[in-house]
Amino acid sequence: MAEKSIQWFKFASPARFYDLTGRLVWGFGILAAVLFVVGLYMGFVLAPPDYQQGNSYRIIFIHVPSAWMAMFLYVVMAIYAAVGLIWRIKTAEIMAKAIAPTGALMAFLALWTGAVWGKPTWGAFWVWDARLTSSLILFFMYLGFIALHAAIEDRQRAANASAVLALVGIINVPIIYFSVHWWNTLHQGATIKATSAPSMAAIMFFTVIVMVFAYWMYSIAAVLARARLELLEREKHAAWVSERLNLPRTKETPHA
């Protein structure tokens, strides 16, 4: 058991993490670009117009994946935050911090595309509908996490404090979600259900799937790229950084 956990935590060492992700960033980035091109081609050229909503429905190909990613990334962020808080793993703390801006971006995209879709469909850019509202609250929670991180100068303390916030948030997310749903629901019912066949054309369904993977790959690439930079900044006095960046070894300056 102990050996197995060492295998996993091996990549938690900053230098190894940096080396491994250097290649992964490119891999995921290229994959994301390819999937975006394929997915958008399928969505805007191959997929037929909807018989009710015409062409305006096509925005779901960028709306649905971003809404999913926004929710999912919060969970991943909270898990990394918990790992960082419990096992004191620096790379996990950095990952949690690196996920937050991508998550906020996804929540914002979901809100924006939702509003753009809402105008032709509901006749208004903003409707106080349950899902829009809970996405808005999720967006605020990302902003709170980022703001708390930014407000605390000591990096270690910032990481720990925002980890507590993320964990409190993750317990609250389902409560908020259900209370907002209970409060009001006007949104069209879920179109993709796990239990029954989707009530949309196969091409539309596959397009959504391709786009979801594209968003995944993009998010992983963006998060890793951000985490690498953060890691370099936090470890700037470590020997491995000067080695990797071919910097002349400077005199060890004490931490400010």
């Binding site: 609250i137 605020f140 404090a161 908020i176």
Partner: protein, 221 residues
């Protein structure tokens, strides 16, 4: 013992020696509610419909305003650090402090709410329901808010930051609390709202003191 009585008595005594702190919060609550009719017009029908939401949002903001002081004085004079090294679990001490804080700043809001309800044209059952919902709901606000107060301890601009951290977490309480009054207004039973609000309170009592204690240890270590 879940509640530390000496700590509770100390906090209450300190608050009674400086009653203006508690009165400021009540004053804020009353003024915010009084501003709404000036903003939306004096139509009694409209005001009655808006009343549950207005009262609840004002209560949320008033609680928020009071939160900064929850740990601040103890933090400044160093007694918070003594609490951290006390042999008792910090979460229990936090619970005592939050209880004292609620008695000083939350309970007065509950007690003054019927007066504001009358001002906004609520009927007697609605006023009663508003007071009951606030009685169950404001402790939740104080408990969740304590986490934010601990996380922003000693930060510059902590007061603004705390609202960004905590207000999203207040959403379920707001929905259920205002919903209870709404239900009564429409002749429905508010049982479901009150039950869920009670469930939230139990959950908050069980979980938030631990999160607050963890946050305090992080911010003071």
């Amino acid at each position: 013992m879940l509640i530390n009585l000496p700590l509770l008595r100390r906090d209450l005594t300190l608050a009674l020696r400086r009653p203006q702190d508690a009165l400021t919060v009540v004053g804020f609550f009353v003024v915010v509610v009084a501003l709404f009719p000036l903003g939306v017009g004096p139509d009694p029908q409209l005001l009655r419909i808006l009343a549950p939401g207005v009262l609840w949002v004002a209560a949320l903001l008033a609680t928020m305003l009071a939160l900064e002081r929850l740990f601040m004085d103890d933090y400044r004079d160093g007694s918070l650090e003594q609490l951290l090294i006390a042999p008792e679990p910090l979460a229990f001490l936090v619970l005592s402090k939050v209880l004292a804080h609620w008695l000083i700043t939350g309970l007065p809001l509950v007690l003054i709410s019927p007066l504001l309800g009358i001002q906004l044209g609520l009927q007697s059952e609605e006023i009663l329901m508003m007071a009951i919902a606030l009685l169950i709901g404001t402790p939740i606000l104080s408990l969740i808010g304590a986490i934010g107060a601990a996380l922003t301890l000693g930060l510059r601009g902590g007061g603004v930051l705390i609202s960004l951290l905590i207000l999203p977490l207040y959403v379920p309480t707001l929905i259920l609390g205002a919903g209870a009054v709404d239900a009564v207004m429409h002749g429905l039973s508010a049982q479901a709202h009150l039950s869920l609000l009670g469930a939230l309170l139990i959950l908050a009592v069980m979980l938030t003191p631990w999160a607050t204690a963890a946050a305090l240890r992080i911010m003071l270590d």
